[in-house]
């Protein structure tokens, strides 16, 4: 249980704030953060880069048979979202009907409950994406 909490706590700036990294050598923007840039193999310390959280749906599907910890949300839509800064990110969509999702839909990041884990019912929070509000 303690280890399980540490595993999620460690990732809190990614999960809550979409903090990735930018390569000091080739300016590649990465999410999730890495120790070595996959574009140029630079392994010097990489400054944090906070993504805007805006992007569009690159692909999507609906999960009907979820793994343990996700049953209460099913059926839910998972997507690959193309962030406006470049990277693709895997996440659930929220605040939208499953059959209303189309490739190209503009979306923005929100923080939501991701799952309920283990016998103690540990709740894990993190990013999901919803359709961009008209004013955004």
């Amino acid at each position: 249980m303690t280890i399980e909490i540490a595993r999620h706590w460690r990732l809190k700036s990614q999960r809550y704030q979409l903090v990735g990294e930018v390569c000091p050598k080739c300016s590649n923007k990465m999410f999730p953060p890495r120790d070595v840039c996959p574009e140029c193999a630079d392994d010097s310390a990489q400054p944090d880069f906070k993504f805007s959280g805006r992007g569009e749906v690159y692909s999507h599907t609906t999960v009907h048979n979820p793994p343990d910890g996700y049953q209460e949300m099913a059926p839910y839509t998972v997507a690959l979202v193309k962030l406006e800064e470049g990277p693709l990110i895997t996440a659930q969509l929220t605040d939208v009907a499953n059959d209303a999702v189309k490739i190209g839909l503009p979306v923005e990041m929100v923080t939501r409950k991701l799952s309920t884990q283990g016998d103690e019912g540990l709740i894990v929070y993190g990013y999901k994406f919803r359709p961009q509000l008209a004013t955004a």
Partner: protein, 385 residues
């Protein structure tokens, strides 16, 4: 480096073996392969398996199976590369013999899946993906493939129907394989009417989970005659990796590890795709069959479904695939699948494929895919006599 040949093959039927545990399934295939090679001992055993820890609560399969098979003391280890575990185990066996360190080596793939068919199995299969950045979002193995297929339909302007030929061909060929889980043909109408599993993947796009075990015995080609007169040469062998997650790929619609491992295998074998007589590819989902054909050089990018629509993948076609039913009809016992492919390729090259025999097959290729394309193992085999 020594030339290497297959001198024995063995397999269990694929399906729900309620009465056989993991160790029994493994022994059945191993014993059959050793009988086929007329062997009583071997130098080493490489066991391909993905889920024994998750489903059976059992790790440490090398020792378990060597001991259970009466081979206590022998060098034996498990090799894990998700759904590509068995071909990865074969690759290790090949390296052992080719290097000269080992002479008689067994590669075995075994998976016991039906002891847990619920959400724990779903979670176990998903562990092939990125736990922190894919799985935490409730992604499943079928959903990962659905994300690829959805974008493929959009990008290349094809429809679900264009994938029907892959499933129809696999089931037609499964009908001639006594070890296949499904031995009945399906119609295009049935394909189109099958329910959605994860849009756009329907039930008949997806391979079934199952129990099974398959094994081969390898030895140096110059010793093969002592055991058999129908040895099959390993002419090309390669493993390549890509990013674990789909979102980290430069092009999520391109299996870079398939291209890389296929090109290395072609180079080693000194052949081109035109020389390959049949191809046992990894049709866990119909989209994977299309991507595999494209990245391995049998179709242009975005054109993989054309081969299925034009009938070029049947036993009489230009490039027959899944000639014994593939993952779709033979079944997909994940960590054993790669060795079923190799056993089936060996049957074709020995003229032992029965109703599914391809006339004059001389060169066969197998390709085993781990996860959504993160580990891909390609082999090329040749009939010697």
């Amino acid at each position: 480096m020594r030339d290497v040949s297959i001198i024995g093959i063995g397999q269990t039927s694929v399906g729900e073996h309620w009465d056989r545990s993991l160790r029994h399934l493994a022994y059945d295939a191993l014993a059959a392969a050793m009988r086929d090679a007329k062997l009583e001992r071997a130098d080493a055993l490489y066991v391909g398996n993905m889920l024994s820890g998750e489903i059976s609560g059992q790790a440490h399969l090398g020792s378990l199976i060597a001991d259970f098979a009466g081979l206590r003391g022998m060098e034996a280890i498990k090799v894990e590369a998700a759904c590509a575990s068995a071909a990865a185990a074969f690759r290790q066996a090949y390296i052992g013999v080719a290097s000269g360190l080992q002479d008689i080596v067994i590669a075995l793939g075994v998976e016991k899946m039906t002891d847990d068919v619920g959400s724990r199995l779903t979670a176990g299969l998903a562990s092939a993906a990125d736990a922190d950045y894919e799985v935490i979002h409730g992604i499943t193995f079928v959903a990962l493939n659905a994300l690829i297929m959805q974008r493929y339909l959009y990008e290349y302007n094809v429809t679900r129907e264009d994938f029907a030929g892959f499933a129809i061909n696999a089931h037609a060929n499964g009908a001639g394989n006594p070890n296949a889980m499904f031995q009945r043909p399906i119609s295009k109408k049935a394909f189109m009417k099958s329910g959605m599993v994860a849009d756009p993947i329907g039930l008949l796009d997806a391979s079934p989970m199952a129990d099974g075990a398959a094994a081969v015995v390898l030895c140096p080609t110059d010793q093969a005659r002592e055991f058999t007169d129908n040895a099959i040469r390993v002419k090309g062998s390669a493993v390549a990796t890509d990013s674990l997650s789909i979102h980290d790929r430069r092009d999520p619609l391109w299996l870079q590890a398939a291209q890389d491992s296929a090109q290395r295998a072609y180079r080693q074998a000194e052949v081109t795709p035109e020389d390959i007589d049949f191809f046992e590819l990894h049709d866990a989902f119909t989209i994977m069959a299309a991507l595999s054909l494209e990245a391995s050089g049998f179709a242009e990018r975005g054109q993989g479904t054309r081969l299925a629509c034009d009938g070029e993948i049947t036993l009489e076609g230009k490039i027959p695939i899944t000639t014994r039913g593939g993952l779709k009809a033979r079944g997909h016992p994940v960590g054993a699948t790669g060795l079923y492919q190799i056993v089936e390729a060996t049957q074709q090259l020995r003229d032992e494929a029965g109703d599914n025999q391809i006339a004059n097959a001389r060169l066969g290729m197998t390709q085993n895919i781990g996860g959504s394309g993160a580990t891909i193992v390609t082999h090329i085999f040749e009939r010697v006599s």
